[in-house]
């Protein structure tokens, strides 16, 4: 299927034509919207944006909490031919102002509660873009009444949907940049639709499926949640921040909302496995459990699969720049003796992967090297950062641009990749190459360890100093000597951390990954 004839928002338009009365999006405990209504509301959003002067190729910011309104806003922006730029509503307003200013949004849809502080921050940077101010999101009432109000002042003419080319941007997701400023990953309609179509092939979703939407919309996991779900005319169940981190309430919601396809980072699944009291509830509809974003500690995955047997579990791997590029189905049951994490699996069919040495040449099969990715799903580049974009790619002699993931892997003869670690998480200690993830995997074997994260710091005397940060299952924490002794029994001596710190819980980023930067700065 040619992406030219099939921009990302076609999925909603077609599903609405097929199943106008099917439920498209649910806000648990509050209400829902049907396909026909969602399609119509996003048309109104498109018309309003056109009336505000938004044109093909523009960017439009979304500063809304997750809601039916924000899903409608996404599709309205796409239908207007613009790219949507969602931000983390929990992030500092200064950061969000930077993002919108950085990609020069032509318009903005913002919830009233964020306006004041955001306006102050943005005015330091430049003129405010025109905004649709939504009093409060929830159901579709907020966006609808904001549009009603604007229509009363000046009606927006019904406009045809924009003609979109495959390379036109569909969205920009900002990720943390090495310079301390977030950088915008530019993804086109073809990037998105090739990924969504691959998901259809790999997971065969059905109209009767109910997808979880656990990830916030500024996180790339949301692309699968929203667009794969709506493509298939299925129902998207929005999970708010408050419930999303509370395992007992979350378990209740997964059961009550009859979610059939779950997708999240492993950390919340670990919490569900340990504290969700899963045996008390009925999860009969749940059939697929997908996870991505970081390594799933095997001991927690084993606990989860024991409590939720008979489902299919997929480990998805990929940076925001490519979205998912490899996948692996976990074989059940997971042996008690297994402690090493599962492979990241084979390349997705819409992409090509290979392993390269530091000089860019392909490694011999079975040798470790950096995973690079090419194909229709790979980003166009970073917004307004030509040098960083150039560094991110490895061009080959035939002109193909391979995205450098920075992840070190090994390829097995069957084409499955095993993740060894980040290129930047490998350190040399006493001459040995140490992968910090391997130390973490070793620490997870300790019965008391709930979470483990390891960082390496430069040290004048020892060259590198390894610090372990742990959170504990038990009230009485093991002593330093006990931990060192445990490590000595489970890790080579050169991998034993120099320092151990026990925290109530590990700090996490807004996308729920362990915040290594904060741990490095820990004093």
């Amino acid at each position: 299927m040619m992406a030219r004839d099939f921009p990302l928002h076609r999925y909603l338009i077609d599903a609405a034509a097929r199943e106008p009365d099917a439920l498209a999006v649910v806000e648990p405990g509050r209400g829902s919207i049907r396909y026909r209504e969602l399609d119509a509301l996003s048309d109104r959003m498109r018309d309003r944006l056109h009336a505000m002067g938004v044109r093909n190729g523009d960017r439009v910011g979304i500063y809304l909490r997750k809601s039916i309104d924000s899903v409608a806003a996404i599709y309205g922006i796409l239908k207007a031919g613009a790219a949507y730029v969602p931000v983390d509503t929990l992030a500092p307003p200064a950061r969000n102002a930077y993002i919108f200013h950085n990609c020069a949004v032509a318009a903005l849809v913002v919830e009233a509660r964020f306006v004041e502080r955001f306006r102050d921050e943005h005015q330091r940077l430049g003129a405010l873009p025109p905004a649709i101010i939504v009093e409060q999101v929830g159901m579709d009432a907020g966006l609808r009444s904001a549009l009603d109000e604007l229509d009363t002042a000046q009606p927006a003419l019904s406009s045809p949907g924009a003609i979109v080319a495959p390379n036109d941007l569909a969205y920009i997701l900002y990720t943390s940049g090495t310079t301390g400023k977030p950088k915008g990953v530019m993804l086109s309609h073809e990037n998105a639709t090739s990924f969504v179509d691959w998901c259809s092939e790999a997971f065969a979703p059905r109209a009767e499926d109910r997808f979880s939407s656990h990830a916030p919309f500024h996180f790339d996991l949301s692309i699968l949640d929203i667009h794969v779900c709506l493509k298939h005319g299925a129902t998207l169940v929005l999970i708010g921040e408050d419930i999303g981190k509370d395992p007992e309430r979350l378990a209740e919601m997964i059961a009550d909302e009859r979610i059939s396809i779950w997708y999240s980072a492993p950390s919340i699944l670990s919490l569900l496995a340990q504290h969700g009291k899963l045996a008390d509830r009925d999860f009969a509809r749940l059939r697929l459990v997908l996870f991505a974003g970081e390594v799933f500690p095997v001991k927690h995955l084993r606990t989860l699969t024991t409590q939720w047997p008979g489902r299919r579990y997929f480990n998805l791997y990929g940076p925001t720049e490519t979205n998912v590029c490899t996948y692996y189905e976990v074989e059940l049951p997971i042996a008690e003796s297994r402690t090493v994490p599962f492979p990241i699996g084979r390349s997705c069919s819409h992409l090509s992967c290979k392993v390269v040495n530091t000089d860019g040449t392909q490694t011999k099969l079975g040798d470790e090297g950096e995973l690079v990715v090419a194909g229709r799903g790979v980003m166009q580049g970073y917004w307004s950062l030509p040098e960083q974009t150039e560094r991110a790619f490895l061009p080959d002699s035939s002109g193909v641009r391979w995205y450098r993931t920075g992840d070190v892997v090994i390829e097995a003869p069957n084409g499955s990749y095993t993740y060894l670690g980040r290129r930047d998480r490998m350190v040399k200690r006493r001459g040995y190459r140490v992968e910090l993830g391997e130390i973490e995997a070793g620490l997870y074997k300790h019965r008391a360890v709930k979470e483990a994260a390891v960082v390496a710091l430069a040290d004048e005397e020892a060259g590198v100093r390894i610090r372990a940060f742990l959170s504990c299952h038990e009230e009485k924490r093991p002593s330093l000597i006990q931990m060192k002794r445990f490590c000595a029994e489970n890790l080579p001596l050169y991998m034993i951390p120099d320092d151990f710190f026990w925290l109530a819980e590990l700090p996490r980023t807004s996308t729920d990954k362990v915040d290594y930067q904060r741990l490095k700065e820990f004093r």
């Binding site: 006493r430 005397e461 020892a462 002593s479 330093l480 000597i481 006990q482 060192k484 002794r485 445990f486 490590c487 000595a488 029994e489 001596l493 050169y494 034993i496 320092d499």
Partner: protein
């Protein structure tokens, strides 16, 4: 614990186990095989013992067989202090 034992214990706690409860480190806690002393730390301990007690350690003595517990370290130092080379 002997005076030597107490001195060695204090050194190990300060240098390699900051923040650890002193009662956790006993005469029989394994130091090298227990992951507390790596090669660099063992070398630092040896330098401290040589300087503090005015003794000389042989290369083959800087291993787990001779230095794995405070008890073993005390025995080694006592033997060297009584029979100075």
């Amino acid at each position: 614990m002997t005076d030597i034992g107490a001195t060695v214990k204090k050194f190990i706690l300060n240098e390699f186990l900051p923040g650890e409860d002193a009662s956790e480190l006993t005469d029989t806690t394994p130091l090298i095989t227990g992951g507390i002393l790596d090669s660099l730390a063992t070398m630092k301990l040896v330098m401290f013992l040589e300087e503090h007690y005015g003794i000389t350690m042989q290369a083959h003595e800087a291993d787990a067989e001779h230095l794995d517990t405070i008890g073993l370290i005390v025995q080694l130092i006592q033997a060297k202090v009584v029979q100075p080379r």
